[in-house]
Structure formats: C-alpha cells, structure tokens
C-alpha cells in the first residue's frame, strides 16, 4: 500500500519518468491502433511489432552500441520491409492475407531471434539489455527517453488531428475515397508510418511479443462504448495510457518483472469488462434487449391469438380459458400465463380467475398486429410474387416490427385492400 501511495505521489524522479513514459507509450499506440482496428488490419500490427526485432539487432550489429536512433531506424526499415512483403505476397500470389501475415511475422521474428541469440552468445559487453525488447522493461526508461517519446507521441497526435478527416474516410469507406480522387496510397503510407512509429516506441515498455495487444485491445475496449470516432480515440488513449501506468507501477515494485505482460493483462481486463457491460453494444445490454424483444413478441402473439378467437365467433371481448388460447396458438403454459399477467399490468387484458379477455386497448393492439400481418402477406404475394402458402412465416416475424410510417406506405402501395391472399378480411384502422 505504501508503495502505491509513493508511486501516485510521483515524488521519485525515476518513477515520474517511468510512469510518464509508459503512459505516453500506451496512449499513442492506442490512438494509432484505433485506425488499424477500424480497417480490420489488427493482425498486421502484430506482424509489424514482431518484424521490428531483426531491425533492432541488425542496427546494433552495425553500430555496436545501443544507440537509440540507430535502433529506431533499424526497426523502421525491417517493419517497412515486413509490410511491403505482406502486401506483395497477398497481391501477387494466391496466398491469402492471414497466411502472409503469419508467415512474415514468424519468419522475421525468427530471424530476429537468431540475430539476438547470436549477439548474446558473442559476449559483446554492450549487448546486455537488448533482450528487454522482447518483453519490455518500463523500469529502464530514463529522462531522455521520456523526452523522445513525448516528442514522438506529440508528432503522432498532431498527425492524427491534422489528417483526421482523411484517416476517417480511409477507415470507413476506402473505395469512396479512391473514387473521389483522394491520394489513398499516400494516406495509407502515412498511417502505416505512424503505426510503425507507435510500435517502435511502444516496445520499450511492452516488448515486441505483446505489442500487438497495445494496438488492438484499447481500440476494442473503446469501440464498445461509443459509435463516434473522436470519443473512441480519447477512450482508447485513456485505456492505453492507464495500462501503461499500471505497468510502470509494477516495474517500480518488482523491477525484475517484465512490464509488458502486466500492461497487457490490464488492457485485456478493461476490454473484457467493456465488452460485457457497455450500454447498447455490451453483451449484457444486448442480452437484455433481446430478452425484451422476445417478451414483446410473445405478448403480441397472445393478443393476436385472442383477436383470432374473436374473429371466429364475432365476440372480441369474450373471456377465454387458458386451454382454449393454447388450442388457438400453441405455446408453453408458463409463457402464456406470464405474458397474460404482463399484458394485464399494461392494461391490455382483463381476467376473472382463469378466464382472460381483451380490453379495448388490447383489442386495438391485437387488431393492428393482425392487420400488419395480412398487409405484409398481400405485399409478398403481389409484389414479390411469392406463393400464398409461403408467406405466413415471414409475416409472423415482420408483423412485430412494422412502424406506422411503413404501415401507411404499405397501404398506399396496395391501394387500401380489403382482403389478404387467404381471403381473410384485413381489419381496418378504427
């Protein structure tokens, strides 16, 4: 607990650097990751992250020190090579994109591992710490690093803001962009450059192996909460930055631990929770909505059944027994009783003991559903030329979702009909 307080107070300069650096890394990769997520190219980000390793090793072999600029340039070159290779393989051979990504990812990473182990075995003194690129070590961040990251992140954010319109268009409707003459190739080039940039600075804290998570997971988490891109970018940045802070905290408490996995666990937890509880798009919200839909359909079917029974004996408001209703329309006893109770609470039915009848409002509502059903059947037979014995099932589902506007249109198209394809009267609106 003490260490947590100490961390949050940011009193130690080292802690400040590590915390700030990790937060910046997390946030910038999350922002760029949103665009790759929307373009459904998340796994390409994974390939880029893995492809960075050989570049870092080659750069090290050439300059023989861990000069950050050299390492970054090396990383850039191989990351670019990887992207270009994936493109070439996908467009020029019959190999599909998923295999191309997996192939490039693993081959480049294999080469990187080969070089890394070769360097390690060579015993060069300056090579210690090169393997922190594998799993990240936020604790290794120092003041200069934070300056560098801050500057890079700033460049990233400025670029995203400046090209926001273009990136949005690219993500949502690339073909339209092409059609109206946008320089799509250049924009894609820019976007992938930004991705590589984010990856190269991100691997310091998260490492090569898990970098993909920093691109994909915050974006997925943010997507659950909103449909608006600017909001999604901010949420993703907060998620990524927050996870970076958690990683930084871990690295101050347990310096020997790799920080990457902890950061990934944090973002993944946030994502899973988001996927579950987000309003509207979350799993819980959708399950509740589906339940509500199902119950509404059930209730309307009950009203429909009561109306049909009324049509038979011309007594729409008569009381019916449960078994009679079930003879009219088969349904589970408990569904029927619960539905009738719900309808009674809403004022659509009345009961005396076990005999149920429609109220005036229930009659109107049941009438409307039957009306919509028959209108739709007529529409299907007349306009889509579907045989009359094939239209019932479809109408059974559509009748519950036709809006008043659509109802009016149907009437007009069908010229205010009197009977449906089965020669039953279409109830008129009263």
């Amino acid at each position: 607990m003490d260490s947590l307080v100490e961390f949050i107070s940011l009193s130690d300069a080292n802690v400040r650097y590590v915390a700030l650096g990790s937060a910046i890394l997390g946030a910038s990769s999350a922002i760029v990751g949103c665009f790759t997520f929307l373009r459904k190219r998340s796994l390409v980000g994974d390939a880029v992250a893995h492809a960075v390793l050989p570049g870092v090793c080659l750069a090290f072999l050439m300059v023989e020190t861990k000069n950050p600029l050299a390492l970054i340039i090396g990383a850039f070159i191989t990351a670019w090579l990887a992207l270009v290779s994936i493109d070439v393989i996908t467009s020029k051979t019959r190999i599909k994109e998923d295999a191309a990504i997996g192939l490039i990812l693993s081959v480049f990473f294999g080469i990187g591992v080969l070089l890394l182990t070769s360097i390690q075995h060579s015993g060069m003194a300056s090579q210690t710490g090169l393997n922190t690129f594998l799993f990240g070590k936020a604790a290794a961040l120092v003041g200069n690093d934070v300056l560098a990251f801050g500057a890079t992140a700033l460049v990233l954010i400025v670029a995203v803001i400046a090209f926001f319109k273009d990136f949005s268009l690219l993500s949502f409707d690339k073909h339209f962009a092409l059609a109206i003459g946008y320089p799509v190739r250049m924009l894609e080039l820019l976007l992938t450059t930004l991705t590589v940039l984010a990856v190269v600075i991100g691997i310091q804290a998260v490492g090569v192996v898990l970098m993909a998570a920093m691109l994909i997971t915050p974006a997925a988490a943010a997507r659950s909460w909103t449909d608006r891109l600017p909001v999604m970018l901010v949420l993703a940045a907060v998620c990524g930055g927050g996870a970076g802070l958690v990683g930084a905290y871990i690295s101050t408490v347990a310096p020997a631990m790799p920080t990457g996995p902890w950061i990934v666990m944090t973002v993944s937890a946030i994502a899973v929770v988001s996927l579950l509880i987000a309003p509207r798009r979350g799993m819980l919200a959708r399950a509740l909505q589906q339940r509500s839909n199902r119950l509404q359909i059930l209730d309307e079917n009950i009203l429909k059944a009561l109306f049909h029974m009324g049509e038979h004996d011309e007594q729409f408001l008569a009381a019916r027994s449960l078994s009679a209703i079930q003879r009219q329309r088969r349904m589970l006893q408990k569904d029927l009783t619960r539905g009738l109770l719900r309808l009674r609470k809403q004022g659509y039915t009345l009961n005396a003991a076990d005999s149920w009848s429609l109220t005036g409002e229930g009659l109107e509502r049941g009438k409307r559903i039957v009306r919509l059903h028959r209108l739709w059947e007529l529409y299907l037979t007349q306009y889509l030329r579907i045989a009359p014995d094939h239209v019932h099932e479809d109408a059974e589902t559509i009748e519950h979702i036709i809006t008043p506007e659509l109802e009016k249109e149907l009437e007009e198209i069908l010229e205010y009909p009197a009977v449906d394809p089965h020669r039953r009267i279409i109830p008129q609106k009263s």
């Binding site: 996908t90 693993s106 294999g110 997971t217 997925a220 990934v264």
Partner: protein
C-alpha cells in the same frame, strides 16, 4: 551423434507442423494457429508446476486443452460479444500469452527449463541431454519419442480423416449437406494443432512453431495444385528447414529454432521467385488477381 538427434527432433517437429499447417493455410486459419501456439503457454506453465517435467503426457493433454479452449474463447468474442474476428484473435492470444509469461516470472524463478526467453524460441540443443531411460537403458532423447508419437497420431488423423478434412476445407457447404459435421473436424484440427504446439514447445518454443506451421505449407502452396503433393512438399520443406537451420545456427552461434524459421522463410522466398506456375520471375501468365485486402 547429438547433431543427429537435434536434426531428427527438428525434422519431426517440422513435419508435424507442416502437415497440419497445410490445412490451416487452406482454411484461412493461419492466424488462429498462431493464436493457439501462444495460448498454450499458461497451460504449459501450470501443468509444468504439477508435473515438473516438460515431457509428460499429462502436460500434453492439459496444455492442449487450454489451446483448444482458446479457440472457444475466440468464438465467444466473435459471435457473442460481436467483436471483429481479427481483434478477437488478437485479444485472446495476447492476454493468454501474457498470463503465461507472468506465471513463469512468478513461479518458476530458478528453473532453467522454463524461462521467459526459452518459451519463445525453445532450446532444441538440449534434447540429447534428456534421454529416455527405462530400466537403466537409454533409448535416445525423450523429445524424439514424444514427437514421433505426435507425428504418428497426426499422420493417422490425416489419413483416416482425409476425405472429411478435404471436403470441410474446400467445400464446407457440401460437407454439411452430406452430413459431415464441419464443427467436429474444425475442433479436431485445432486440437491437433494445440497438442503439436505443446509437444514442439520444448524444442522450438511458442512463436517459432508458427513459422513451421505456416511457412512450409505456404511454400508448397506456391508449387502445386494438389493436396497430396502439397502435404508432401511442405513436409520436405520442413525437413530441409530443420537441417539447414541447424547448420546455420552452428555457423553464427545463434538459436537453432530461429535459424530454422529463417531457412523456412528463405525456401518460401525461393518459391516466390521461381515457382513454375506463380513465381515472380518465372511464371508465364502474369495475370494479377486482386486479393481481398481486408477480411
């Protein structure tokens, strides 16, 4: 002699992965194979903590089940949380792999058998050091026995299920219409990939299994149109990668697994350039078919 054992182990791993990988590539499930090979890690660590050995059958089955579970998790994210498939794959395998790495760091501190970097690229050079000893007689490295067993199981799986795998790969609709359960064969295949990954884990580590799963089959895909030929060619490429990889690693004193995937990649590159039907430099008809960029 130990050279022989190492190359043999590598070849067994390579052939097992290449055979299964053919189906993964043809079914466009290469990245799910990648995901499984990452996802087995926590299973391996937990099982290792119980069995204290990387060679037990219990570990194979237990960790294999985790890999299979990852496929279910991906489906869950995709179908029920309505997450796009690439993100579903990405989220699942990264968090499972992260979990595995954390477990290693927390619980196996001193164990040299299982450290963070080893899980990435294995240490096939150790295999001759761990012989199978029954009644005091050494029967050769344990890894060779385990991988041979796995290869036999895979070969049996592919030959007994050849028609069903073929049909569910190329025409799943027809397969369903004929009453063949695509789901059963899908999960059987993923289970096989999972078990192979776990078995190969000690030799080549998590990430490089992916190289062997995808690269030789992709190379073969460029060279032939017939499935039996593809299976054969990718096995041969796998063996060549194992042999070439060993000598490359010895030459520059690096990870053998890394070298194997480098050689596999090189063979793919050769096929890319020189394939009679599709090579960039040698094919006659150069009609470029636009492949869908986005999934």
């Amino acid at each position: 002699m130990s050279e022989f054992w190492i190359i043999l182990t590598g070849s067994l791993v390579a052939v097992s992965c290449s055979l299964l990988g053919c189906y993964l590539v043809l079914r466009k499930m290469a990245m799910i194979g990648d995901a499984i090979s990452h996802a087995v890690l926590p299973g391996i660590v937990v099982a290792f903590l119980f069995t204290r050995s990387l060679d037990s059958i219990a570990l194979l089955i237990g960790a294999g089940a985790v890999g299979l579970g990852a496929t279910f998790l991906i489906e869950l994210f995709h179908k029920h949380a309505k997450l796009q498939s690439d993100a579903a794959i990405g989220i699942t395998f990264t968090w499972l792999f992260a979990l595995g790495v954390i477990l290693i760091a927390l619980y196996t501190g001193g164990d040299v058998d299982l450290d963070q970097e080893c899980v990435l690229y294995g240490e096939i050079a150790y295999t001759p050091l761990d012989p199978l000893i029954i009644n005091g007689v050494s029967y050769g490295p344990t890894a060779v026995w385990v991988m041979s067993g796995v290869l036999i199981v895979i070969a049996a799986f592919i030959s007994f299920g050849y028609k069903e795998l073929f049909l569910t790969t190329f025409d799943p609709a027809l397969a369903t219409a004929l009453g063949i359960s695509t789901a059963v064969w899908h999960y059987s295949l993923m289970g096989a990939v999972s078990i192979t990954t776990v078995a190969a884990f000690e030799s080549v580590g998590a990430i490089l299994v992916v190289a062997l799963l995808i690269t030789p089959p992709a190379t073969a895909y460029l060279l032939t149109d017939k499935l039996p030929h593809m299976l054969a060619i990718s096995s041969i490429c796998g063996i060549l990668s194992a042999i070439g990889g060993y000598y490359l690693a010895v030459w520059i004193d690096g990870s053998i697994a890394g070298a194997m995937s480098a050689v596999a990649g090189f063979l793919f590159f050769l096929a890319l350039l020189f394939s009679p039907s599709q090579g960039a430099l040698t094919s006659r008809s150069r009609a470029v078919l636009p492949n869908a960029q986005n999934s």
